[in-house]
Every structure is written in structure tokens, then in C-alpha cells.
């Protein structure tokens, strides 16, 4: 293969440099894009990670400062048939070891450095020897001691006497360290408290709230699907006088904010005797203009021929709707179902008004959570275990049916 060396013109050089610049810009651009995306994703995820971790903590662990994410408990070990608490301390040779408290109240002194008296250490007097000389610290004359740290010795000023603990290793009795017991760092292990979940379920009736929520959600979703499919079919396929006017008026009701209806609906529940019952969370909410709208839009797109063929066979509308339209409309139905599921599962202000009694048997999750969260004495770990229980089902459904959630947002934008 022979090539004639082409003289490099300015234009090819220019093009090459352009390409390189472009590539650079692309890489920087992509890196920047991913940086922003990851930063936002971290901000979105962190509260949930924190939630899951806190749900597994002990109550003391939730009040720790500085705050930590992972659930930790103090480590203990068995020594001569007894539980001993473990500490994480620096030994004389400078390494950090896991030690147990072997002896308390060892006579010790608080020693300070001669050149910088602010730096102090508590060390047992058995490892220190009076040199006989003195020094002046903060206007007071104090003795100078030769203090042994392992193989090294340092001259330090004795400020006052104190007591330390003698910490020893479980494996090697020669390894020891001294520290003031009260402030010694405890050895800790990551130790999730799974019992938080059983506690919240058993002690706080949370299973009942979960059951109630599931029941209400199933009925709201099922009821809405039924009425929306019926209405959507009528508005798309049956010709009758005033149909379009009724449709526009009904769809217009989407604009009515729920807050206007709270008071009269509550009065209605009072006169029907539905206050403090789960029924009040279901029956008013199975008639949904948005659902009817969604189903109608989908039904309109179904070809007319399918229906006409069935008509010729003598099938009636009811049968046509459930045998032909509904099986074809699975995407729209799933979209509506996910929307209603979230709505029913997470609704808060109406249950707050309508389930206002103290009887926790009527509670749905949102109310049980709010009641729990408002009790000052409750440990955050139990509250967070309850939060995990309340989000686990929506999250699972989301993972299984993500497409329909996104579809719902894309088609309607109604939350």
C-alpha cells in the first residue's frame, strides 16, 4: 500500500482541531450533565436512604451528634460468662484497638505539655515519675513528671490528679490503654434493629391502619375504574342530546379545588352518619371527571369497525363495552388505576377531617403516621419504621408499573 504524503493544508488542520474541540466539549458537556443529574438524584434519594436507615436504629442512636446514617449499636463481648462493653481506643504503640474496661478508678494525673499547657492527657500515675523540678502553668507552680508512653518518655506538667480506666484487649492481655471512662469512645457495630417493624405493627395497631388503607385504595380504584369506563364509553360512543354540553360541564369540574368542598362534604358525612368510618373515604371519591376524561380520550381512538361488527352479531352495549373496549384499553386503565392508587393511598386532608376520632381502628396510614409523628414522646426510629411501611407498597407498585405512572403525568399532568 502506497500513500502519497499529502501536504497538510491549513483547512485539514483546522478541521482536526475543530473535531478535537468538539470532542472535548462533548466530554465536558456530558460530564457536566451527569454531574448535575447525579447531584439532584442524590438530593432526591438521601431522605429515603436516611428513612430506611433511621427505621433500623435504636432510639438513642437517632439522637446522636454528629448524626450518622447507618444504624449502630455499642458492641459487647462475652468475658468469663459476662457481657462487657467494648471501646475503641488508641494504645501506646499508636494503633486503635477494640478493648474492654478491665479496671476502673486507676489513680492518674492530668498532664499538660510544657510548651503548650492547653494540650492535656490523662495518664496513670504508675507510668509517671516525679522529676523533682517544677514549672509554672497559668500562674501556678506545678511539678514536672517524666511520663512513659510505651517506649517513649515525655516530660509533662502535672495539673491535677484524676482517675482513668484501664482497658485491655480480649485476645492479648499485654495490650492495654488508659482513658477517662466517661469520654472513652465506644466500639460500635452496624446493627439494624429489625424489631422496630414488629414493634410498630404489634404495639401501635399499624397493621390495622395498613389493612384499612389497602381496603380503601382497592375500593376507590375499582369504583373509579367502573364509573369512568361507563362514562367514558357514553361520552365517546353513544349519541344523545346534550352529550357534549354535559361532558364539558363535567370536565370543567376538574377545576374545582377540593378545599371548597371540604366543609359541605363533611356536613354531608355528618348527616349520613359516615363520620369516622372508612366509607367516608371511599364513596365520595369513586366519581372522577379526570378518569372519565381519560377513558373517553382512549375510547375515541378505538376503530368504529370493531363495534359495528359486534352490533351486527346482536351484542348489546354493555357486552360490547366489557368484551371489546375494556380489553383494548388496558394502557389507559392501568394509567388511571395508578393515578387513583396514589391518590387514595396518600390522601391526607380529607381523612384528617373525616376520621377525627381517637379510635385507631378507623385510621388509615396517613392519619396513623400523623398521629404518631405528633406524639412528642415517640422515638424517631418507630416513626420512621412506620414511614417505611407506608411507602413500601407505593414504591413496589411504582417499580412494577413505572411506565403507567410516567404515562399518567405525560397525558394529564394532574397529581
Amino acid at each position: 500500500m502506497t500513500t502519497t504524503a499529502e501536504p497538510r493544508t491549513d483547512s485539514t488542520r483546522q478541521a482536526r482541531s475543530d473535531r478535537r474541540k468538539h470532542l472535548l466539549r462533548m466530554t465536558v458537556g456530558r460530564g457536566g450533565a451527569y454531574f448535575i443529574l447525579v447531584a439532584f438524584a442524590a438530593a432526591m434519594l438521601f431522605p429515603f436512604v436516611f428513612m430506611a436507615a433511621t427505621a433500623l436504629k435504636t432510639p438513642e442512636d437517632t439522637f446522636r451528634y454528629p448524626p450518622t446514617v447507618l444504624p449502630r449499636t455499642s458492641s459487647t463481648a462475652q468475658l468469663a460468662g459476662e457481657d462487657v462493653e467494648l471501646y475503641s481506643l488508641e494504645t501506646a504503640d499508636g494503633s486503635t484497638e477494640t478493648l474492654y474496661l478491665a479496671e476502673e478508678g486507676v489513680a492518674a494525673g492530668l498532664f499538660a505539655r510544657l510548651d503548650d499547657p492547653a494540650v492535656t492527657i490523662a495518664w496513670p500515675l504508675e507510668r509517671a515519675f516525679d522529676t523533682g523540678s517544677t514549672t509554672t502553668v497559668a500562674g501556678e507552680e506545678v511539678p514536672v513528671f517524666a511520663v512513659q508512653f510505651g517506649d517513649e518518655t515525655a516530660e509533662l506538667a502535672l495539673l491535677r490528679s484524676t482517675a482513668v480506666g484501664r482497658f485491655k484487649s480480649l485476645d492479648d492481655p499485654d495490650v492495654e490503654a488508659f482513658a477517662i471512662v466517661r469520654t472513652a469512645t465506644r466500639a460500635e457495630t452496624v446493627d439494624p434493629q429489625w424489631s422496630n417493624f414488629s414493634e410498630i405493627i404489634e404495639l401501635r395497631d399499624f397493621d390495622r391502619s395498613l389493612t384499612n388503607t389497602i381496603l380503601v385504595t382497592i375500593l376507590v380504584v375499582g369504583g373509579t375504574l367502573f364509573t369512568s369506563i361507563m362514562g367514558g364509553y357514553a361520552f365517546s360512543r353513544i349519541r344523545f342530546k346534550g352529550r357534549d354540553q354535559i361532558f364539558v360541564a363535567y370536565i370543567g369540574s376538574i377545576m374545582i379545588p377540593f378545599v371548597v368542598l371540604i366543609i359541605p362534604l363533611f356536613r354531608l358525612m355528618v348527616s349520613l352518619g359516615w363520620v369516622n368510618t372508612l366509607g367516608s373515604l371511599v364513596w365520595p371519591f369513586i366519581f372522577n371527571a379526570y378518569g372519565t376524561f381519560l377513558m373517553r380520550q382512549f375510547f375515541v381512538s378505538i376503530p368504529k369497525e370493531l363495534e359495528e361488527a359486534a352490533f351486527i352479531d346482536g351484542a348489546r352495549r354493555w357486552k360490547i363495552l366489557w368484551r371489546i373496549f375494556v380489553p383494548l384499553s388496558w394502557p389507559a386503565i392501568a394509567t388511571l388505576a395508578t393515578f387513583m392508587f396514589l391518590y387514595a393511598w396518600n390522601s391526607f386532608i380529607w381523612p384528617l377531617v373525616s376520621i377525627n376520632g381517637a379510635n385507631s381502628e378507623d385510621f388509615v396510614l396517613t392519619i396513623a403516621l400523623q398521629t404518631l409523628g405528633g406524639q412528642a414522646g415517640e422515638g424517631p426510629n418507630l416513626i420512621f419504621a412506620a414511614i417505611v411501611l407506608s411507602v413500601i407498597i407505593p414504591f413496589t407498585v411504582f417499580v412494577l408499573a413505572q411506565r403507567y405512572f410516567v404515562e399518567n403525568v405525560a397525558t394529564s399532568g394532574i397529581k
Binding site: I36, F40, A41, M44, P47, F48, Y65, P67, D207, R208, T211, L215, V216, S228, M230, G231, A234, F240, K241, R243, I246, Y250, I251, I254, M255, P257, F258, V259, V260, L268, G273, T277, L278, G279, S280, W283, F285, F287, A289, Q297, F348, I349, L352, V353, E361, T366, L369, Q370, G373, G374, P380, I383, F384, I387, V391, F398, Q402, V409, A410, K415
Partner: protein, 519 residues
């Protein structure tokens, strides 16, 4: 259910057997309506107040008129008679069944179901198993009829076991027993009669007798199909809406009689410092929170739209806050906002330390009391709201961007436009309808702010320290359900409604009729 007949030539000369009982029923219904009307006008039996009494009277009058038309046209065998008769019977059947079922505690019986359900919820697992099997048949692509049947039977068995475990049989017996509770019987009989009458008027035989044409039959079909929605709409939306409007013109504590005071509540609103404070709070909240919830969402959507790998993952992550319920999410943030052990103040401390060590400065990180300090309590609500809303708005924008014609970008590429130019000159203008929609929905949500301050401040009052998180809905809630100023609270509700409606109209006018209704 449509019934067609070929026309009057087909009319049968002999009257069907149901004709005479139906006619008697028709006359009875008309008499019932007349008696009810007189009763209401004379205030017998039911103690009702002003407008409620009048609206009931008007309803009864309409029913009476309808009944008379039905009687006359039934005798004359005209289609109008069939339609009016059918719908009167249908509505009576609904109303009487509703009353009967409500007396029997059927609507509130859910709580008992909940109790029974509670111990047996695990049986749903069988149904879910069946559902997974059926999903498996679809994914495989091969239509496996026997597997599909197995799935069906598994699901059915699961439902059956669940129902039996929950006590279906004792429940049915209980249902039967309640049916015979004395005061339900007359209403139940009326309901049954109305159902029977409606069924008769619906039948093919009635269609023939009244010479119903195909178009007329279709209208009956249509009205029947929209009936559940319409009845629900009237009972739980339109009705309450008008009741709410009426209540807003009264002074009412919910126990004693309401006193009509005209526009006084609305006039009082303008001189009510608390209400004005709530408006000010919500305006400040909106002015900060809406741009923060919209603009970054647009940027994120733009990045997600770039077809780089992993975008679906990010989209899912951003969506999570809108899946988790507001109560749980707010309780999580309440702990993060904790002034002593919360991660937010700890993060501020760490960032300040880093800043100080880099620049050698000596800033001190404070310990802001996010929830109990009146100068920043609203900021904590803003942070929470924005965090929850951003991902949802991102997905909305993303959907809008995916609707933009890609040839526009290709043309811009040929013209040598850079990415920023393309974003500025194509994406932003083409996205205008979406942007208007996102801003509108975010604004409407922001105006109805309630959950976040309520839960963040709990167990303290939701109005927050120094009323700093008092929003109109919080004010409404406090007035209606804590102070029992129900008339005044309704006026607050309507003021807010008017505000929201105005905002909605404004946005949709700007977007040039590209709103929900036209899509």
C-alpha cells in the same frame, strides 16, 4: 340494551300484562311526590332550613311534574312517557336503595370488613401469585391458554379463600338479618318496586309498546351509562359546591341554626389580619417556591432528553418524592430539619468548616431552628415543597420535550447552532404550552398549601411560630374544624376558589387555549 322497533306500524294492539300494575305505580309515585311537596311546604316531618327546604321543594316539584307527564304519556303510549317514567323509577330506585342500605349500615360496614380483612390479608398473596402467572404468559409472547387458565383459577381461588376466611357466610346471614330490621322494610319495598318498574320500562316489550325509535333508545342508553357519574357529581360535587356557597353567606357554628348575613363574611375577610397574613405568606411562598420548582425541572428535563445512557434511572429517581405520601416525606424532613441532631444543620456546619479552611475565614455556622423560628419556618416549607415537586415537573417537561419535532433540531444543526442556542431558540418557545401548564399546576398546588406546614409544625398549631406558616387552607381548617366558624371558613374557601380560578384562567388565556379541555 338498546331496543329498536321499526315504528308505529309495529304497535301491538293488546296491552302487555305489566301495563295495569305499572299505571297504578305511576299514579302512586305522582301522589307520593305531591304529598312530599305539601309536607315540605308545610314543614311537616322534616325540620329543614331555608334554601335546603326550597331546593328540596323544587326537586319534588320537578319529580311531580315528571310523574304527571309520565302518567299521561304512559296512557297515550308515547315515547316521552317511557323515558320520564324510566328515569323517575331509576332515580327513585337509587334514592330508596341508598336510604335502605344506609339504614342497614352497608356504606359504613367497611370498618367491619377491615377488621375481618386484617387477619386474612395474607390470602391476597394467592391472587397476586395468579396475577404474576398471567403476566408471565404475556411476557413469553406465546399464547399459552392452559397457563392462562391456571392463572385465572389461581386468582379466583385466592379471592374465594379470602372471602371465606373473612367470613362471607356469616356476613351474608347478617345482611339478611339487617334487611328485616323493622324501619328498613318499607323503604326496601319501595326500592324493590322502583327497581322492578325501571326494569319493566327498560324492557323490549316497553320499547315496542311506546314505539321507541333507535335514536331515542340510544339516548336512554347514553343517559343510563353516564348516570353513575352524574349522580356522584351532583351528590358529592355540584351539590356541596352550592351548599358551600350558601354557607359562606351565613354565620353558623354547625350546631344551632345558620343566620343569613349576606356578604358580611366576605367584607370581614378584608379587615382580618390573620387572613391577610395568610395571603401574604402564600404570595411569598409562591414567589420563591414556584420558580425553584419549575426552572431546575426544565434544566433536568433538558439533560434527561439528551438520550444518554441511564436517563430512565434518573427519571425514576426524580419521580420518587411524588410517589411517597406527603405525610411520610414531611416527617422525614422534619427529622432532617432538627436543629441539634438534624443532617441539614450538620451539613451547613461541614460546609462552613470547609469554606473556612479553604479561605482561612472565620464564619460561624449557626444552628437555625428551621421549624420553630418564625423568620425561617416558611423557608423549611419551601424547601420541602420544592423537593417534592421538582421531579414531577421534570417528567412533565420531559414529556413536552419529547413532543417537539426533531426535524427542527436537525435544521438548526445544519445552520450550525450550538446546544445553548438550540435550547433558547427551539426548546423554550416550543415548550411554552407545557411551561404554562406546569406553572399553572404548581401555582394551584402552592395556593392550596396545607399538608406540609400542618405536619411539620405538629403537634404545635399548623399556623407556625408567629403565624409564619399560616396559609389560607390552614386558616380555613382552623376556622371550620377548631373554631367552628363554619360560615366564615366557607367564605375563606370561596375567596381561595376565586383566586385559584382567576389564576387558572389567566394562565390558560396566556397559553392560547392550549389547556386541558382542548386536548
Amino acid at each position: 340494551m338498546t331496543t329498536t322497533s321499526i315504528g308505529s306500524s309495529d304497535r301491538t294492539t293488546g296491552l302487555p300484562g305489566w301495563y295495569r300494575p305499572i299505571l297504578i305505580w305511576r299514579v302512586l309515585v305522582a301522589l307520593m311526590m305531591a304529598a312530599g311537596l305539601i309536607g315540605v311546604l308545610l314543614r311537616r316531618g322534616i325540620v329543614l332550613d331555608g334554601p335546603l327546604r326550597w331546593s328540596l321543594a323544587v326537586t319534588l316539584l320537578m319529580f311531580l311534574g315528571g310523574s304527571l307527564v309520565a302518567v299521561i304519556d304512559t296512557v297515550r303510549q308515547r315515547h316521552l312517557g317511557r323515558v320520564t317514567a324510566f328515569f323517575i323509577d331509576f332515580l327513585l330506585a337509587v334514592v330508596f336503595s341508598f336510604i335502605a342500605f344506609n339504614r342497614m349500615g352497608m356504606f359504613t360496614g367497611l370498618d367491619a370488613v377491615g377488621e375481618a380483612f386484617n387477619g386474612n390479608v395474607a390470602w391476597i398473596g394467592i391472587v397476586v401469585l395468579g396475577w404474576f402467572i398471567s403476566g408471565f404468559t404475556e411476557r413469553g409472547g406465546t399464547v399459552n391458554e392452559s397457563l392462562r387458565n391456571i392463572a385465572r383459577y389461581t386468582m379466583a381461588a385466592g379471592v374465594a379463600v379470602l372471602l371465606l376466611a373473612m367470613g362471607l357466610l356469616p356476613g351474608l346471614i347478617e345482611f339478611g338479618r339487617r334487611l328485616f330490621v323493622a324501619d328498613v322494610i318499607p323503604i326496601a319495598i319501595l326500592a324493590a318496586a322502583a327497581v322492578l318498574a325501571a326494569r319493566t320500562m327498560w324492557s323490549d316489550s316497553a320499547a315496542r309498546m311506546f314505539s321507541t325509535t333507535a335514536a331515542e333508545g340510544e339516548t336512554m342508553d347514553g343517559l343510563l351509562f353516564v348516570a353513575p357519574n352524574m349522580l356522584g357529581f351532583l351528590a358529592f360535587m355540584a351539590g356541596p359546591l352550592f351548599v358551600s356557597l350558601f354557607i359562606s353567606f351565613t354565620e353558623w357554628d354547625g350546631l344551632t341554626d345558620a343566620r343569613f348575613i349576606g356578604f358580611q363574611n366576605y367584607i370581614d375577610l378584608f379587615s382580618d389580619d390573620l387572613f391577610l397574613r395568610s395571603l401574604r405568606n402564600i404570595v411569598v411562598f409562591g414567589a420563591v417556591a414556584i420558580p425553584l420548582a419549575v426552572l431546575p425541572a426544565m434544566l433536568l428535563a433538558h439533560l434527561l432528553n439528551s438520550k444518554l445512557p441511564g436517563m430512565k434511572f434518573f427519571r425514576a429517581v426524580y419521580f420518587l418524592p411524588s410517589i411517597a405520601g406527603v405525610v411520610g416525606v414531611t416527617l422525614i424532613w422534619k427529622q432532617l430539619f432538627n436543629s441539634t441532631v438534624g443532617f441539614i444543620n450538620y451539613g451547613i456546619l461541614k460546609v462552613t468548616d470547609l469554606f473556612n479552611s479553604v479561605f482561612g475565614s472565620g464564619f460561624a455556622a449557626g444552628e437555625p431552628q428551621w421549624i420553630s423560628d418564625d423568620s425561617i419556618a416558611l423557608i423549611s416549607v419551601i424547601i420541602l415543597f420544592v423537593w417534592q415537586q421538582i421531579g414531577f415537573n421534570t417528567v412533565l417537561f420531559l414529556a413536552g420535550m419529547q413532543g417537539i419535532n426533531p426535524t427542527l433540531y436537525e435544521a438548526a444543526d445544519i445552520d450550525g447552532a450550538g446546544p445553548w442556542k438550540k435550547f433558547q431558540k427551539i426548546t423554550v418557545p416550543m415548550l411554552k404550552p407545557t411551561t404554562v401548564f406546569v406553572v399553572a399546576t404548581t401555582t394551584i398546588l402552592a395556593l392550596q398549601l396545607f399538608n406540609e406546614p400542618f405536619i411539620l409544625q405538629s403537634p404545635s398549631p399548623p399556623s407556625g411560630p408567629g403565624n409564619s406558616t399560616l396559609t389560607p387552607v390552614v386558616y380555613l381548617y382552623q376556622n371550620a374544624f377548631q373554631e367552628f366558624q363554619i360560615g366564615y371558613a366557607s367564605a375563606v374557601a370561596w375567596a381561595l376558589f376565586i383566586l385559584i380560578f382567576g389564576v387558572t384562567l389567566l394562565y390558560f388565556r396566556r397559553s392560547g387555549d392550549d389547556g386541558v379541555l382542548s386536548s
